[in-house]
């Protein structure tokens, strides 16, 4: 019944891991023509499904068994929940009569995942199953997207029942608002017409709504510069003249100053996260704030909002553009140009010097022409990716933003590649993060998923080391990874290709070789160990007070 429902939902791939409580489910899968990808850890299955969902916009589907199988999903579910990624997760559960008896491999996954799912279900009657499946897909993919979990006891899997898949859903307590309030939209239009120093602050909502073209139109028509969050990077072309790059803790110098000087901030599908705002009461102090978001709870949660608009970004922008007039802001753009010119140079790669991580990432950008699908792990390499890879296309980045989950990027790249088989998929990884799910090399090789993993190998938990350097007087406590494994040999041990670069001149060669290789490749880039990410806003400081990296 589950399989039939998945077919109705046009699911083409399931990520999962079998076990005693899902034997029946997997037996049905044996005859079904839906692809199942066996990862080597359940956490990787969720991340893979998440990567698939982020780059395709379609919900990712996961199977896992009861108890440890289900609890292994938790980090992945929380990751997806924080970044509003649509997933449907189906876990096996012990038979209904055994629930609550501490049976073998029983874990209350319903209870455990209550705070990290958009909604979850424990199925108690076979008759409810088709409706629950339908609701789960609907909830996961509508409104503000998110993960939905269905816990399915073994006896329910065995039960026979008539399969009638509902055509529509009726969930009385769930009515997302899609159309923005016209009065508020008009106020936003007026604010845009009046503004002299507008900034558009763009988050993941623009990506999930698919509103990149409308955003481009709005920015160009009103000549408003655009800054994005980590989640919003792929929503606006990074090399566009109006692009300011990312804002916040490791945002660009000019983006943070521009927000500080702006007289109008239009937040679109973004949630004023603390990594973005720094000290809250100093954020965009001089600006009127328009906030467009599908989730009413986000509006006014962190900052006071002058014009609240609840609705789907695409619909709201469509409405907004009907009456928005063209404007020019030569002075404002000149000011931003000035900021760009007085910003510190990011890095300087000496041809014979130590290899710099920023150079590696900029090289990946150059070699892929900004057209690749990128996933990242979490740490310094993630921030450098945000700073130096200029994303061109919508949904070309999958990175754990809200939860910051190390171990996300590599399995996510496998899902991303399966979702977009024709495209080049890179995982930009840290040497620490990669080791959290490196067992997935087996999955990559087994299914010949040709992802290119670029390990920015600084032999440190670099981001933590950077904080210890700056805020704890270089007392490096448990951040050195030592020599670590030989990543080239590790790749080879799994049957993948391993490559290494230690000098600037080798980088492009290695990248081209990797892209010319038909299967999965791991690249070990030996970079300078103690390089830092700048600019940096110290935690809980106003974002205009950055450590630029060139003071000395």
């Amino acid at each position: 019944m589950v399989i039939e429902a998945l077919k109705k939902e046009n699911v083409d791939v399931i990520f999962g891991y079998p076990g005693g409580a899902v034997l029946n489910l997997y037996d049905r899968l044996y005859d079904a023509d839906i692809r199942h990808v066996l990862t080597r850890h359940e956490q990787a299955a969720v991340h893979a499904a998440d990567g698939y969902a982020r780059v395709t916009g379609r919900p990712g589907v996961v199977f896992a068994t009861s108890g440890p199988g289900a609890t292994n999903l938790v980090t992945g579910i929380a990751t997806a929940y924080m970044d509003s990624v649509p997933l449907v997760l189906i876990t096996g559960q012990v038979s209904s009569p055994l629930i609550g008896t501490d049976a073998f491999q029983e874990a209350d996954i319903f209870g455990i995942t209550l705070p990290i799912t958009k909604h979850n279900y424990l199925v108690t009657e076979i008759a409810d199953l088709p409706r629950i499946m339908k609701e789960a897909f609907y909830l996961a993919t509508s409104g503000r997207c998110g993960p939905v979990l269905i816990d399915l006891p073994k006896d329910i899997q065995q039960a026979e029942g008539e399969f009638r898949y509902p055509k529509t859903v009726q969930i009385p307590g769930y009515n997302p608002t899609y159309d923005g309030h016209l009065g508020q939209i008009n106020r936003a239009i007026k604010a845009l017409a009046r503004a002299k120093k507008p900034v558009l602050y763009v988050g993941g909502g623009v990506v999930s709504s698919g509103a990149d073209q409308l955003l481009l139109e709005l920015a160009e028509r009103t000549e408003a510069p655009v800054t994005t969050t980590l989640m919003g990077l792929s929503a606006f072309p990074g090399c566009h003249p109006l692009a300011l790059g990312m804002l916040g803790m490791h945002g660009t110098y000019w983006a943070n100053i521009a927000v500080n000087e702006a007289d109008l901030l239009v937040a679109i599908g973004a949630r004023f996260d603390d990594r973005v705002t720094g000290k809250l009461n100093r954020f965009a102090q001089g600006a009127k704030i328009v906030h467009i978001d599908i989730d009413p709870a986000e509006i006014g949660k962190n900052v006071r909002v002058d014009v609240p608009i609840v609705g789907d970004v695409k619909r709201v922008l469509t409405e907004l553009l009907k009456k928005t007039e063209a404007k020019q802001h030569p002075d404002w753009l000149a000011r931003i140009e000035e900021l760009k010119n007085c910003a510190p140079r990011g890095y300087c790669q000496e041809p014979d010097g130590e290899l710099l991580p920023q150079f590696v990432i900029e090289s990946i950008y150059r070699e892929t022409k900004g057209e690749a699908v990128i996933t990242t792990e979490v740490g310094q390499h993630q921030m450098w990716t945000a700073q130096y890879y200029k994303f061109k296309n919508l949904r070309s980045l999958a990175s754990s933003g809200g939860l910051g989950t190390m171990g996300y990027g590599f399995p996510a790249s496998l899902g991303a590649q399966l979702g977009r088989p024709e495209e080049t998929v890179f995982c930009i990884a840290g040497d620490g993060s990669f080791q959290m799910n490196s067992q997935e090399l087996a999955t990559a090789v087994n299914y010949n998923i040709p992802v290119k993993v670029a390990i920015i190998n600084n032999q440190y938990l670099g981001m933590v080391r950077q904080w210890q350097q700056i805020f704890f007087q270089r007392r490096y406590s448990s951040v050195a990874l030592g020599k670590g494994p030989d990543f080239v040999k590790l790749a080879e041990a799994y049957g993948a290709v391993g490559l290494r670069a230690e000098k600037a001149a080798e980088v492009a060669v290695v990248l081209r070789q990797a892209m010319a290789t038909p299967g999965p490749v791991v690249m070990d880039f030996r970079v300078r160990a103690e390089e830092n990410v700048f600019p940096m806003v110290p935690p809980n400081c106003p974002t205009c007070e950055m450590i630029r990296g060139d003071e000395e």
Partner: protein, 174 residues
């Protein structure tokens, strides 16, 4: 300040945990919570008393609204409504002061529902001030134990808090 919310929820397993968990997780303070079925057995009604400032209350309501099993939330705080709570109070009592206690009970239109040699149980229903007043008085005799149902509230007049459209002045909080 204290706010009173009437929350209609689907009568499904786990709903109470969802609500209680949300309050705990987001650091909202529940003063009291009372739950029971409505005339429609598929729907339960929760009366939640929240201690919060206005901004926090707004978040409470918005976050509650995101729970799929929640059908409707009404803020009764500023609506004309009848607020009641039932308390049972076990008070030390002996032959000499029992009559005195009896008098207090009568004045408050409470009831003595159990008598033993050394104590009585008093049942009283009322709004907060009334309950606080009697508790203060009875504390002179020595309160052994109390139990409270939590506040419940209903709009005055023919207005109702209903699932679906906004009724008369049954003002929707959002």
């Amino acid at each position: 300040m204290k706010y009173v919310l009437a929350v209609l929820v689907e009568n499904k397993p786990g709903v109470l945990v969802r609500v209680a968990g949300l309050f705990a997780r987001r650091g909202f303070n529940i003063e009291s919570l009372a739950v029971g079925k409505t005339v429609d057995p598929a729907i339960s009604r929760m009366t939640i008393e929240v201690e919060a400032d206005e901004k926090t209350l707004e978040q409470v309501v918005k976050q509650l609204n995101k729970l799929i099993n929640i059908l409707r939330i009404s803020n009764l705080t500023h609506e004309p409504s009848v607020n009641r709570e039932l308390v049972m109070i076990k008070v030390k009592a002996n032959a000499t002061n029992r009559a005195e206690i009896q008098q207090i009970v009568e004045t408050f239109r409470a009831k003595i529902v159990d008598v033993s040699l050394h104590s009585v149980i008093i049942e009283i229903t009322g709004n907060e001030e009334k309950l606080e007043a009697i508790l203060l008085l009875l504390s002179h005799y020595g309160i052994l134990e109390t139990v409270r149902t939590g506040k419940i509230a209903l709009l005055r007049g023919s207005k109702v808090t209903k699932n679906g459209e906004v009724k008369e002045n049954g003002k929707d909080v959002l």
